[in-house]
């Protein structure tokens, strides 16, 4: 078959990575003593679909390894094996190995075969040990022998004769005898499915009997090698439930007619209707044969299997065609959409300005139309913005695993509590908040939480709690990372700060000020730099990263009770609420969050410091005045302070009064980067396009204050 499957590879990898994340999360939720069967099923399904996919695409190493995992999971699922810490560790490692294997295959790099083989050996060993311990009530070798035999026979089905064989149909009676009528549509193989693979998998469930229906096979001259002309009747005797059978055909859903009945079904006498349906697979009018999907006919499934709720396997969510609730879209496309909407907003506000000038009855109509347009535009913009929003669970999901590994390595007992993981924020913010959060959580586990002994000695429960919490507050998102550990050691911090000369020997600081010192560069109080945290990159980097996102971080700590880091971030980096100000002929946008107050100064309110810098008294402190026109080198309309306006802005905890000509209006603006075609400019965070099509710069207030301080010093 020469069909190029490569076109499906990307989708397979994407789905597999996601599936592995699901598997990891489910593994971490498993309780050691009493595992939730639904979770084990979820994990099993993931392993199964990865196995199926990789076998289809010919990634045999992945398939083989996943198969071993699946075997372990099958034991767990059948309650033949207990969920122990050791097995969880192995399975979590398997997730890592599978991820790495897939990555290696995806990038056409060599697979670390030794690592895979070692782990695979461990997994097999576990099964073997378990089997030995269980003193095998039914002999497992027996069934494996049958499997290999039947699979080998299946390798060379001859098209003319009915390839039929039944191996060891006798022996212990199984719970079910599934009769499967499998009639693939001709395009089955083109969609990446291989009937042979499915039959092989069925053969693994128990003794199997396969009848081939080759009656549709055309003349050789008209035969298309990529189409499937066969149909099969498969009888498999097994203990496996209906669900296991369904799973095997999961991928073929929609590409085949499939009827599954159980010959042993106790329901037969009570429900003749159901079995009749099963026997005659097409109860609908003749058209049915062309496009009715017959897989998992709910009626038959329920009738023949009253014990198990058959919806079970749909709840996993991800697979199958029924789940059309989400689609995968590249971020590029969304960004394009955002840009176009941004353009529309500009055009719309341009029209509004024009509309205001039209007089008479037509002008009236025009304006009401434009008002309608404006409302629609705002809704459109918000909808598009929401497309970029993702739940923060995308970042939070990595922490359960991390905390588990860390606490094991540090011999600490740590419980992670996560709340508000459905809180949504912009994808760009989301991508950049990951690293700072990792750092904070590491810090909490490493430095915050004490050893179980120390905790018991302090009268606390031996298991420490690290909590992660996200919620919306105003137009921002707040993320809190907290631990119930020892809290910050203020004496040590202060001593270190004095040693580094950050604080004068006689300065007295408030507790908050001391706590804030940990955000200074190169400040780590861990006695010993561990390989977990304290690599020299410290909280200063965390604070800087968060600042770059337009947010801020603060810490609150109570000795003996723990520390709490509170991060506040904007929901999106794409728009900002701004105040437009005029200086000369230029218009600038000042982010609304930085503005404290705008006021007009009267002559006499301004004092001079050393004959140079101008300051004025504002809310119990002297605030320096920054003349924006001087800083940016433009000619203003107002040079005397009382002719223009002072806008008090705050950044990095410092306040300055920006002197501008006039305030224009408040509006939400779309942020465009200056760096796309130019470079970074100090004091400017970006640009936006105004209603008249002209460009206005958006001020970066903290940067501006820095520039002003430098130019004053110069």
């Amino acid at each position: 078959m020469t069909l190029d499957l490569a076109q499906f590879h990307d989708a397979f990898f994407d789905e597999s990575y996601e599936a592995l994340d699901t598997m990891e999360a489910a593994l971490l939720k498993l309780d050691l003593g009493a595992p939730d069967p639904e979770l084990i099923n979820t994990i099993f399904r993931v392993a199964h679909s990865i196995k199926g996919g990789s076998a289809t695409f010919g990634f045999s190493e992945v398939a083989s390894f996943t198969h071993t995992c699946e075997a372990v999971l099958d034991e767990l699922r059948a309650n033949r094996m207990e969920v122990t810490r050791h097995i969880l560790d192995l399975l979590l490692k398997s997730v890592d190995v599978m991820r790495d294997m897939l990555r290696a295959v995806q990038h056409k790099e060599p697979i670390d075969a030794q690592r895979v083989a070692d782990l695979q050996f461990d997994l097999e060993l576990t099964i073997a040990q378990n089997n030995a311990a269980a003193a095998a009530p039914t002999s497992p070798q027996d069934s494996t022998a049958q499997v290999t035999a039947s699979v080998e026979a299946e390798h060379s089905p001859s098209p003319e004769t009915e390839a039929s064989h039944s191996q060891g149909g006798e022996g212990s009676k199984r719970a079910h005898r599934w009769r499967i009528l499998f009639r693939p549509r001709p395009q089955l193989m083109a969609h990446g499915n291989d009937p042979l693979r499915m039959i092989r998998e069925l053969a693994e469930l128990g003794p199997i009997e396969v009848k081939l229906d080759a009656s549709d096979l055309p003349e050789l001259t008209v035969l298309e090698p990529e189409r499937c002309y066969f149909a099969w009747e498969i009888v498999v005797e097994t203990d496996a439930e209906r669900e296991a059978i369904d799973q095997i055909f999961d991928w073929a859903e929609g590409d085949c007619e499939l009827t599954i009945t159980d010959d042993y079904a106790p329901a037969q006498p009570q429900a003749p209707g159901a079995s009749a349906e099963a026997q005659a697979p097409q109860p609908e009018p003749p058209a049915g044969s062309s496009n009715v999907v017959n897989i998992a006919t709910a009626a038959t499934a329920k009738a023949s299997e009253p014990a198990k709720p058959s919806q079970d396997h749909h709840e996993g969510g991800k697979h199958g065609l029924g789940d059309g609730s989400s689609i995968r879209v590249s971020t590029e496309k969304i960004d394009e959409l955002m840009n176009t909407v941004g353009e529309l907003v500009i055009t719309q506000s341009m029209l509004s300005q024009l509309g205001a000038k039209v007089s008479g009855p037509i002008g009236e109509q025009l304006r009401s139309g434009l008002a309608q347009l404006e409302r629609n535009m705002r809704e459109l913009q918000e909808s598009v913005m929401r497309v970029r929003m993702l739940p923060i669970s995308f970042v939070f999901s990595r922490f359960p695993r991390m905390v588990r590994d860390l606490s094991q390595r540090l011999s600490k007992q740590v419980e992670l509590k996560v709340t508000g993981e459905q809180t949504e924020l912009d994808k760009t913010v989301l991508e950049k908040i990951g690293d700072p959060l990792v750092h904070l959580v590491r810090n909490c586990v490493d430095h915050g939480i004490e050893s179980p002994e120390a905790r018991t000695a302090a009268g606390k429960p031996p298991t420490g709690v690290v909590s992660l919490e996200a919620y919306h507050k105003g137009g921002n998102i707040t993320i809190e990372v907290a631990d119930d550990g020892a809290g910050l050691n203020r004496e040590k911090i202060l001593a270190k700060a004095r040693e580094r000369g950050l604080v004068g020997p006689n300065d007295t600081l408030s507790d908050e000020q001391i706590d804030d010192l940990i955000f200074h560069a190169g400040f780590s109080t861990a006695d010993q730099a561990t390989d977990i945290s304290g690599r020299g990159v410290g909280m200063d980097v965390v604070r800087r990263n968060i600042k770059e996102l337009g947010g801020h971080i603060e810490v609150r700590s109570q000795p003996g009770k723990g520390s709490r880091f509170i991060i506040t971030l904007p929901l999106t980096l794409a728009i900002v609420d701004g105040q437009s100000v005029a200086v000369g002929t230029e218009t600038y946008i000042v982010p609304l969050v930085t503005i404290i107050e705008s006021l007009q100064l009267k002559p006499g309110m301004v004092n001079r410091v050393a004959g140079q810098g101008e300051v004025f008294w504002f809310r119990e402190q002297y605030v320096p005045i920054v003349r924006l026109h001087e800083l940016f080198g433009i000619r203003p309309r107002a040079t005397a302070l009382h002719e223009g306006l002072i806008m008090v802005v705050e950044g990095d905890g410092k306040r300055v009064g920006l002197f501008v000509d006039d305030l224009l209006g408040q509006q939400q603006v779309v942020i465009k980067s200056l760096e796309t075609n130019y470079r970074r400019v100090e004091g400017v965070s970006g640009a936006t396009i105004l209603g008249d099509g002209s460009v206005a710069l958006i001020l970066d207030v903290p940067g501006l204050i820095r520039v002003a301080a430098q130019s004053a010093a110069a």
Binding site: N339, K672, L674, N677, Y678, A687, S694, V695
Partner: protein, 172 residues
């Protein structure tokens, strides 16, 4: 506003010859590779950027992207000309050390699109220290006029990105 879409030019200009957009600054004629030209538009007032070199006039909105505008006269220290609605901005894409950038070049006027056979391009002669020629790719004589072919990456790259352009393979 005149917008000429020239990026779709027949790139198959016979090997050994390339198409060049020529424009004038005062009495001189310059040329840039036509494949770099995005569009040609009329002058409109720009938004100034702080801390920019004098010849970087500011930025303009070009269908949603923010594009810096460079005055070529000022870049060459020529006498300043008034900006009128007839002043022309050539929007070019340049390759800088940090990736592709779109910029606008203010020139006196656009002349023509000409074919320049590679054989007709002569290296710029050394004119001594006071005339820098490193951004002149070569000189070509076309219909009796001398056209200076500009290496716009070198000419503009550093101005707009703040990062020095990687020098091309060292020769002449």
């Amino acid at each position: 506003m005149t917008t000429v879409n020239v990026s779709n030019q027949d790139a198959a200009a016979a090997a050994g010859s390339k198409q060049v957009l020529t424009f004038t600054l005062g009495d001189e004629t310059y040329g840039v590779d036509i494949l770099r030209v995005q569009e040609i538009r009329g002058w409109s007032p720009v938004t100034r950027i702080p801390q920019a070199p004098a010849h970087v006039l500011g930025v303009l909105n070009l269908r949603g992207s923010i594009v810096p505008i460079v005055d070529l006269r000022m870049r060459f220290n020529l006498e300043h000309a008034e900006y009128t609605p007839l002043t022309v901005i050539i929007v070019l894409s340049i390759e800088s050390a940090v990736g592709r950038r779109d910029i606008g070049l203010v020139v006196d006027g656009v002349s023509d699109v000409i074919d320049v056979p590679q054989a007709d391009v002569k290296p710029a002669p050394e004119l001594g220290q006071h005339v820098s020629t490193e951004f002149i790719e070569g000189l070509a004589a076309v219909a009796g006029r001398m056209v200076m072919l500009l290496d716009i990456d070198r000419l503009i790259g550093e101005d707009v990105t703040g990062v020095a352009t990687v020098p091309a393979a060292a020769n002449g």
